[in-house]
């Protein structure tokens, strides 16, 4: 058994909340840079250049990349030989979010009840997903999620007979409807298979996989490439104002499913696809 103390979890989550909101991962920065070089529309190019400038200002002036610093989505991969000491891990994570959003000058965007809508004042609670794994590792990933793009996400319960064409139409429909609302260029996460909630979770996890990476399954990889091409031919463009860059990536994660079903979840993310992770 290896012990991990709650204090180190609080510290890590706090730092990751801040890091994710001030600096994008290398693959996202590169995707933006490449798009600014290849975008065909003049206005689109100017928007992409301003987005690059926005990233520079965020880093140099210590100001969040986007004012919607998101609801904190946290992925915990917990080795079964790890013992958490000093409290409950969920409380430690929420404490880390509280400290990160307060000390990091991040916006508090969470209401305690979906209908009463009173702001909790510290961006808690987080949405936490735990996965068990073999060994004594512990990895925590913080992925703050903005709702301009979250609101445009969809789950489709297709029939097996709908097949690959049905899946592609579902993804394209979600992207088309998202249009300018989701702050394009988008990052499209797709969850294929499993059950209703598994598909949605896979779609969110797909957003963590870097831009430019691909599924190991050849038929899924081919679908990722085809969808990205077709989305970029849509003309939606940067800011929804026209152009050849509508998405940076379509990442598909798939899982086994039931003989009667073909669940497809499309989690739309904006160009501010934030995630920061750490081994503890």
């Amino acid at each position: 058994m290896r012990s991990v103390n709650c204090e180190s979890i609080i510290k890590a989550v706090k730092e990751l909340c801040i890091e994710a909101n001030y600096h994008l991962s290398q693959d996202m920065c590169e995707a933006l840079k490449n798009a600014a070089d290849t975008e065909e529309s003049t206005l689109g190019r100017s928007i992409l250049e301003q987005l690059e400038k926005n990233l520079e200002i965020a880093a140099s002036d210590d100001i969040p990349i986007c004012q919607d610093t998101g609801m904190a989505v946290i992925f915990v991969e917990l080795g079964q030989e790890v013992r958490i000491e000093g409290g409950f891990i969920g409380d430690a994570i929420n404490e880390g979010v509280r400290q990160g959003y307060t000390e990091g000058y991040l916006r508090k965007s969470v209401v305690g009840d979906p209908l009463e809508r009173i702001n909790t004042g510290d961006n808690t609670p987080a949405v936490i997903h735990y996965t068990m794994k073999p060994g004594d590792g512990l990895r925590i990933t913080v992925a703050p999620k903005g709702f301009g793009s979250e609101n445009m996400s969809r789950v489709f319960m297709l029939k097996p007979a709908d097949g690959a064409e049905g899946v592609k139409n579902a993804v394209l429909t979600a992207v088309r409807d998202a249009g300018p609302n989701a702050c394009p260029p988008m990052f499209v996460g797709v969850g294929l298979g499993g059950t209703f909630e598994k598909a949605a979770l896979l779609a969110k996890q797909a957003l963590l996989r870097g831009a430019g990476t691909h599924s190991e399954k050849p038929h899924i990889r081919a679908m990722e490439e085809e969808l990205l091409r077709r989305i970029n031919e849509s003309g939606i463009g940067p800011g929804g104002l026209g152009g050849s860059t509508t998405a940076f990536a379509v990442n598909i994660e798939s899982y086994a499913t039931h003989i009667a079903g073909l669940p497809v979840a499309v989690n739309i993310c904006c160009h501010v696809n934030r995630h920061a992770g750490r081994e503890l």
């Binding site: 928007i47 990349i65 004012q67 000058y105 916006r107 809508r117 249009g179 609302n181």
Partner: protein
């Protein structure tokens, strides 16, 4: 075309703008998003006055991140305008003249805009750090309890935006030339 404009806008100047024009806005804009719109609607429903004279004014749909010490504001980019669509026609009929946000508007908002000669601008979504540089002053006007959603008044200088819906009802998102051709 590119224009430098000052807000509150001259109605004649707004008429010149066409969907697709680039503008740099200086002057005063009010800031309100979901919760402040709900409160404005509640005030109107109760027969009360709004906390500011909306006639001729501009509303920026935005909820900033907190300002660091010594700074005017935190990150300050646009939020999705369609969530305010339900409240917007009534505000337009009261004289609201321009809106800054991102994303599509409803047919009801389109109609009320045409009726009132109003303009809808898009600011670049997700460029909150960059856009904060164009904000030189920020004060809370009402509903401080709403935190990031309080009603605010900003002074802006050369705030960049794009005309999306002009006074003739032309909508850049529904552009004919580059029809979204996903199917």
């Amino acid at each position: 075309m590119e224009y430098r404009l000052s807000s509150p806008f001259d109605p004649e100047e707004l008429k010149r703008l066409r969907a697709g024009d680039l503008v740099y806005i200086s002057g005063c804009v009010y800031v309100a998003r979901d919760a402040a719109h709900k409160r404005m609607q509640e005030a109107l429903d109760a027969g009360k006055e709004l906390p500011f004279d909306i006639s001729g004014q501009t509303i920026y749909y935005m909820g900033p991140s907190p300002a660091r010490e010594g700074r005017v504001i935190g990150s300050a980019g646009p939020t999705t305008a369609s969530r305010m669509d339900r409240y917007t026609p009534a505000l337009l009929d009261l004289g609201l003249r321009a809106m800054i946000g991102k994303g599509k508007r409803s047919p009801e908002v389109h109609e009320a805009m045409l009726r009132n000669g109003a303009v809808y601008f898009a600011a670049i979504g997700g460029a909150g750090a960059l856009l904060s540089k164009a904000i030189t002053a920020c004060e809370t006007v009402a509903w401080e309890d709403l935190g990031a959603e309080a009603l605010r008044k900003l002074t802006v200088e050369d705030f960049p935006a794009i005309v999306v819906i002009d006074t003739e009802g032309k909508d850049l998102y529904l552009r004919e030339d580059k029809k979204v051709k996903i199917f």
